[in-house]
Amino acid sequence: MTPGVAADTPKLSRKDFVSDQDVRWCPGCGDYSILAQVQRALPDFGVPREKFVFISGIGCSSRFPYYMNTYGMHGIHGRAPAIASGLKVSRPDLHVWIVTGDGDALSIGGNHLIHTLRRNLSLKILLFNNRIYGLTKGQYSPTSELGKVTKSTPFGSVDHPFNPISVALGADATFVARSVDVDAKHLQDMLRRAHEHPGGAFVEILQNCNIFNDGAWDSLTDKNTKADTTLVLEHGKPLRFGKNREKGIRLAQGLRPEVVSLGDGIDEKDLVVHDEHNPAVAFLLSRMGPPDFPTPLGVFYSDVRPTYEAVANRQMEAARAKLGEGDVDALLNRGDTWVVK
């Protein structure tokens, strides 16, 4: 809390977004990096600090708003999108971000997430996916792999996991991206893209819980393996990966993707070219991952569609233009009336 400090400085820096509260995540948690990247990215957006609102649900990630020196609300489990929706539609001037986790967004709050995405409210949703329940000390989550042994599943989980990117695409989100907690530059890029997208944005951030699910994303972050295990998406560019970018994704018969090595008669022209505006490509990419495919990182999909708050507020303006500013006395007197003397 920094009461009494006016924020009229024109150029903001990272420290303007750091609140005076001690950060209380476990040492080594991936959340620290994400917090740092958000605090680094926001000053460059050219938006006054007081126009940002961070809203969260419940879980480790949801403590995020307390550490941001912006407006914020730490809500209730799974309900951040509902709270943020009411705020955004009634205050379209604000930049509203949601911070949530795999349990918060996809389990208890699944309903709010999909409806918020389909409405295309301009809410920027950051889903920290660590594939575990951390705050409740280590139960499997809706993104935990099948057979996961946890405190609540000593014989292995029997739940088929959600794929967050597929869920978002299935819910008709207009912007869907994935990044990793420790890839500072890529994550900042994705945050900027989310901010610049004129509508709702969904960013899955692969995040390590070093206490209850340590190393869940190691193969994607380890310097020695990540070139082979990740596929960095760039709009208009062929899908290539590997240490020497020697591998690529080609569509085989029946629109089935396959990993191919370049050379031996296969060149770039044979590869799938990433098109952010093509939902079919986006969905195809969302299904890729180990063991047969690299994990795509970057913007899967981006589409411009009227936002809920814009259309809802336009309806109000249109009603005012047509009927004039409402006269409450006239409203009370509507319909059949009579006078008693």
């Binding site: 509260q21 929706s85 009411g86 009579w338």
Partner: protein, 626 residues
């Protein structure tokens, strides 16, 4: 006058039959769900209101949109009480029963007064209809209706006859029969037809053939009453002497929505309504969705939780926020309401109660959510509770709920119920200028700002609109440190904050006006009511006072906090009776609060009290005292 000349002139000039004046009439229209009885009742009510009568209505319909035709489950009824004096209720037992089929007769006949007027359409008494209603013989023919004034009117046949040359399909033509019945009853009770003619003209504007058919059916019904040898007299109920002013008919749901709009206007704030459709609250959402040019934003959320959540988000954004629902939806909202308690944001939660538990009786009334709204959240969670006592009062109750919410920075429960929501009464239209302003001050000065620094008297924390420079702050559901609002797990601070939240709500009692005692200040029996039983209790009181009984009535508008003078009043009577449409919820609260040996009168049938039920209970208590 838009009424076709033949009808109009009949009404005024050609009084072919003698007129008998009545003070009060209770009429019930009953038929199959598809027979249009709700519309018939509503139009008859509007005609009666325009005739200057005081009215009270009670629509009573099944939860199923179209239960199987002709069955007992599918019977829909609409009761109206109209009078030349002040009335409080839709009447205990009807003087007139209009039954369109055998099932409607079977369900409703038991309520009809002896020698009451019984109007039946024989078309609804064919073999199949009788069987569905469980009649072995046709009651029209077997003499079993001898204790009533039976009028058998071929409503369906005559409607078809009147529309013959319009070449409508049989199915469409039959649908007009409710207007025939309405026309006939309008004649019988000398009601003006204009409101119905106007209604038909506007409702069927786009379908001239149906418009013409319904007008003709209406006229045919009136003309039948006028000319047929069946009715010897025409009745008249003179205008009531009610307070001067401009009036309209209003249902509780309409009044509640208008109250929220008026509150937003008085607070100079935009209004946000987050809601999910649910009976019997949906009409509020429907009406508010049309008020866009009043700065009203309605958000039909994905579920009840998001209805409340979105409203809370809007409140954080600095708008007047409300969420509307009924019991099953309120249960789902309670977690969000507790977040509003913790974040101390203003939020009006409207609970249009219905019969429960669970899905219960969706279209029937009950006042059994009192303990839930008082205590149904985790931990010590004080929320002010206000209850409306009549359809028109929903307007003022909504204004008051909004005023308290923004003044004290707190969620506020506004209780209505199915009976108030759908019931209608004449309502004296207030002028906005007569209503007090609702002052709202957003904090904008960063100097000395702390999110949980409380105002000295109200203990309200400051309301800050996000976007205000220098006042960036975070709130949330984790316990707050006093003054700073930072997360705090300190044991002493938690107790301090729990007590501070309680003190803030308890302090509202300072503003509650002295309790209005109807009847003697000291006496034998005090009736304590709340919510929609106001009408029944008032009528019962009048009856008991007329008999010279030392009985009084108070009606609680504020259920949390309770009025400061209540404890003293309760002790001035030998017995305290708490009539409620539940198993004794306010009774439990009063007993706990005042260690009082009060007794309950409890009815849990999805129906309002009959005045006679209350009178009987009070007489019994008086007997015990003697």
């Amino acid at each position: 006058m838009a009424v076709p000349p033949d009808v109009a002139t009949q009404a005024q000039a050609r009084r072919a039959k003698p007129t008998q004046e009545l003070e009060t009439v209770t009429i019930r229209f009953a038929g199959d769900s598809g027979d249009g009885m709700q519309l018939t009742g509503t139009q008859f009510s509007n005609e009666s209101a325009l005739a200057g009568n005081d009215i009270a209505t009670f629509p009573d319909f099944p939860a199923e949109i179209r239960a199987p035709a002709g069955t007992l489950a599918g019977v829909s009824g609409f009761q109206l009480n109209f009078s030349s004096r002040d009335i409080y209720t839709p009447g205990d037992n009807p003087d007139v029963l209009v039954a369109m089929n055998a099932a409607a007769l079977r369900v409703n006949l038991g309520d009809l007064k002896p020698n009451g007027i019984l109007l039946l359409d024989p078309e609804g008494f064919d073999e199949q209809s009788l069987k569905k209603a469980g009649y072995k013989a046709n009651p029209i023919e077997d003499g079993s209706l001898g204790r009533y004034q039976l009028f058998v009117v071929d409503v369906t046949k005559m409607t078809l006859g009147a529309l013959e040359d319009l070449h409508l399909s049989n199915k469409v033509a039959i649908r007009c029969k409710n207007f025939f019945a309405l026309g006939l009853c309008s004649w019988l009770f000398s009601r003006p037809l204009d409101p119905t003619v106007k209604y038909i003209e506007s409702r069927f504007k786009k379908d001239p053939a149906i418009l013409e058919a319904n007008l003709r059916a209406l006229r045919a019904g009136w003309n039948y009453g006028e000319t047929a040898e069946l009715f010897a007299v025409q009745y008249e109920v003179k205008p009531a002497r009610i307070a001067p002013g401009k009036y309209r008919n209003i249902t509780g749901n309409s009044a509640l929505g208008l109250g929220l709009v008026a509150a937003a206007s008085k607070a100079k704030l935009p209004l946000f309504l987050g809601a999910y459709p649910i009976t019997p609250a949906s009409d509020i959402l429907h009406e508010m969705a049309g008020y866009k040019n009043f700065g009203v934003l309605t958000f039909q959320a994905e579920d009840e939780i998001a209805g409340a959540g979105s409203a809370l988000g809007a409140a954080f954004g600095g708008v007047l926020a409300a969420t509307t629902s009924s019991g099953p939806g309120i249960v789902l909202k309670q977690e969000t309401i507790n977040l509003a308690v913790m974040t101390e944001l203003p939020l009006v939660i409207c609970n249009i109660q219905r019969g429960g538990p669970s899905t219960g009786l969706p279209t029937k009334t009950e006042q059994a959510d009192l303990l839930m709204v008082l205590f149904g959240r985790n931990s010590d969670s004080p929320v002010p509770v206000i209850a409306a006592c009549s359809p028109g009062d929903c307007f003022y109750a909504a204004l008051e709920a909004a005023r308290i919410a923004v003044k004290y920075m707190t969620p506020v429960f506004l209780l209505s119920d199915g009976y108030l929501a759908n019931g209608a009464e004449p309502w004296r239209i207030p002028k906005m200028a007569e209503l007090p302003d609702i002052p709202v001050q957003f904090r904008s000065d960063p100097q000395g700002f702390f999110p949980y620094l409380r105002e000295g008297e109200t203990l309200a924390r400051p309301w800050v609109r996000p976007g205000t420079p220098g006042l960036e702050h975070r709130i949330g559901g984790i316990e707050k440190e006093d003054v700073t609002g930072n997360v705090s797990y300190s044991p002493a601070n938690h107790e301090l904050m729990v007590r501070a939240r309680a003190a803030k709500v308890a302090g509202i009692a300072r503003e509650i006006p002295p309790t209005n005692i109807r009847g003697p200040e000291v006496g034998d029996v005090l009736m304590v009511g709340w919510g929609s039983t106001f009408g029944s209790l008032s009528a019962a009181l009048d009856e008991l006072r007329a008999k010279g009984r030392a009985v009084a009535h108070i009606h609680l508008r504020y259920l949390n906090p309770l009025p400061a003078d209540l404890g003293g009043i309760l002790r001035r009577y030998k017995r305290v009776l708490v009539p409620e449409l539940n198993t004794g919820q306010l009774l439990k609260v009063l007993r706990a609060e005042y260690v009082l040996d009060a007794v309950g009168l409890n009815k849990i049938q999805g129906q309002p009290f009959k005045v006679s039920e209350i009178v009987r209970k009070v007489e019994q208590l008086l007997e015990e005292i003697r």
